[in-house]
Subunit: 351 residues, 2 copies
DNA sequence: GTGAAAGCGCTAACAG
DNA sequence: CTGTTAGCGCTTTCAC
């Protein structure tokens, strides 16, 4: 079904204005677009009529003429996680400077949705696309690389044809884990949602690397999967109660999970950070609002936005693809600030 | 600055296909649009060429021809609050059925941004607009009501020219407060962000009505303002500690605030719901994840989305404006489930 | 400086 | 069933 516009109100066109002003369409066009070389007397006369008639140019006509819509799509899985909201915010702000508007496209991780989005650039409804999530195979994305600007950010994929911007997830895993170790925790657990994601795998690799550097061996029972939010944090704290060989800290990969752990620990009388250390991810507002506040791995969303757009831009000028890896850092807060006296560093005894 | 598309790759047009297939543009157009009355032999031949050449029609050309973009803008203040994310989700899903796409427009409560959005419908870049927030004066919105479909939802405004959908906020305030009273709390506090919002004023009115019905007088010191999130909830619990005449329950108007109160109460050894009752708003995920889980005033976002679109639709057919008020309900959970024995109903003694 | 004219790619009457 | 034709409203050479 399609909605029809009501009673086809005759809109006023550039030609109407031209006639009223006694000039050509070209002149009116020049006035609209602030083109120089229009006698100021004429300019004023035309402008007066435009104002009087409340005329505004029809955007699609211009778009067709230029085969360009000044619209960039940003593909996100959904808007539940604040990360995507912030990223969109940053991207929108920068793009607005360049006279572009952004169209937010929610995929819900559905490849067929993403295929539709790609179709929009093929039909030139969108000038370009920034993927912040990707469920589609990279090949399907690559084949539209000629009909519009495309950048993949946040998602880790291998490609020679598309520019990418990503966080250094391995280093994130490494630094986060190392922070915990340096704070005196020695029995470090790790959790993730799914290892299907390459980013998660890299993070996991960093975790293992830090462990290795400290001569600690990996405990499979300390690796938790399918962890997304608050309730998973709570669940894990509970599970740990019944473990004979329980960890004393966790790299969570999410501030929500860390918050869940803190809330449940509090209820159960477990003291964070004394009895258990926890580090989050993303430096969300939540991480400073909890008490104890959450030590977290911080990524720069602004910088991801900025670089994505730089790459979009370069691509549109045929400057070829490029891959950028963004640094991350650890922000120390209370959830890992174990009292000095309590530091007990000893190698792990495998049970 | 504007990005230029790279090296102007010659795109294939409907005319190219027509020539290759040895038919007219009209026939190709019919094939593309699944128009009946095309001999199937022809249809197949044309389709084969389309597939072979990987041809896709340019959307803007069609848009210009029809003076319609099949794009609806949805104006939200930001994406921080899950309410807007969900509303957008619902709206998008319904609109997709109607072959419309939604463009999310973030205003950050800035009237000038909203003015730009309105301009998009004047320039016909957007076929319509759904405001879920409104900082602009209603007059400025009214004057574009002829150049596109416009609906205002969630925001409470007086207008004869624009269709509106809103929740029954007064009833929300009333039912929420009444629930608390029926659970045996008698010293009910209230908080809001700002009374500049008409919705908030209505909610406040409902609160007062419930109090009045129970012959309780309003205590000014129990009315808290500038409350938005977790930290405000915490702050209020702390403040109440030092009040000589402290309330025993609160209508918060937000699940986050309620969550903040619960978290802080737990830290301070105050038992919710025994010592203090709290009711949230919006029925967010958060409200079931907290312990105690949060009793909340629930609105139907899906129904708001549905009605907004129905009204958009009606408007496009010139069926005139309409105003819809959506019902709300209270979902009882643990945060107000005071033990039966504890019910002590007594009129308030004004200090 | 200004105007005339040629499209941008597609759709939709209207003939045939 | 299929083709012809006339635009949708705007920009942009190219003359003058």
């Amino acid at each position: 079904m399609r909605y029809r516009s009501r009673g086809r109100v005759k809109i006023s066109t550039i030609e109407d204005i031209a006639k009223l002003a006694g000039v050509s369409k070209a002149t009116v066009s020049r006035v609209i677009n602030h083109h120089p070389y229009v006698r100021s007397e004429l300019r004023e006369r035309v402008q007066a009529i435009i104002d009087e008639k409340n005329y505004v140019p029809v955007a699609v006509a211009k778009d067709l003429r230029r085969l360009q819509t000044n619209l960039i799509g940003v593909v996100v899985p959904n808007l539940h996680h604040p990360f995507f909201g912030k990223l969109i915010q940053e991207i929108s702000n920068i793009l607005k400077e360049d006279c572009y508007d952004v169209v937010i496209l929610q995929s819900n991780y559905a490849p067929e949705r993403e295929r539709e989005f790609i179709h929009y650039v093929r039909t030139k409804k969108l000038d370009g696309l920034i993927f912040t999530t990707l469920s589609l195979s990279i090949e399907e994305v690559e084949c539209v690389s000629t009909s519009g600007m495309i950048v993949i950010c946040n998602e880790h994929v291998e490609t020679e044809l598309i520019s990418t911007v990503q966080f250094d997830e391995e280093r994130a895993g490494y630094l986060g884990t190392k922070h915990l170790l340096e704070k005196g925790y020695t029995r470090i657990a790790f959790c993730y949602d799914t290892l299907k994601s390459k980013a998660q795998r890299k993070r996991y690799k960093g975790y293992k690397k830090a462990l290795c550097e400290h001569h600690l061996s990996l405990q499979q029972e300390w690796i938790f999967r399918n962890c997304y939010g608050l309730k998973d944090g709570k669940r894990m704290i509970q599970m740990m109660q019944s473990m004979k060989n329980a960890p004393d800290a966790m790299f969570t990969g999410s501030d929500e999970i860390a918050a869940g752990m803190i809330m449940e620990a509090q209820r159960m009388g477990i003291c964070i950070p004394k009895d258990f250390g926890v580090i989050g991810f993303d430096n969300q507002e939540l991480s400073v609002m909890m008490s104890p506040s959450i030590t977290t791995v911080s990524t720069s969303i602004a910088s991801m936005a900025k670089h994505s757009i730089i790459l979009l831009h370069k691509q549109s000028q045929g400057e070829g693809v490029q891959r950028i890896q963004l640094p991350i850092s650890v922000i120390e807060r209370e959830s890992t600030r174990r009292e000095e006296g309590h530091v007990s560093y000893r190698p792990l005894t495998v049970s």
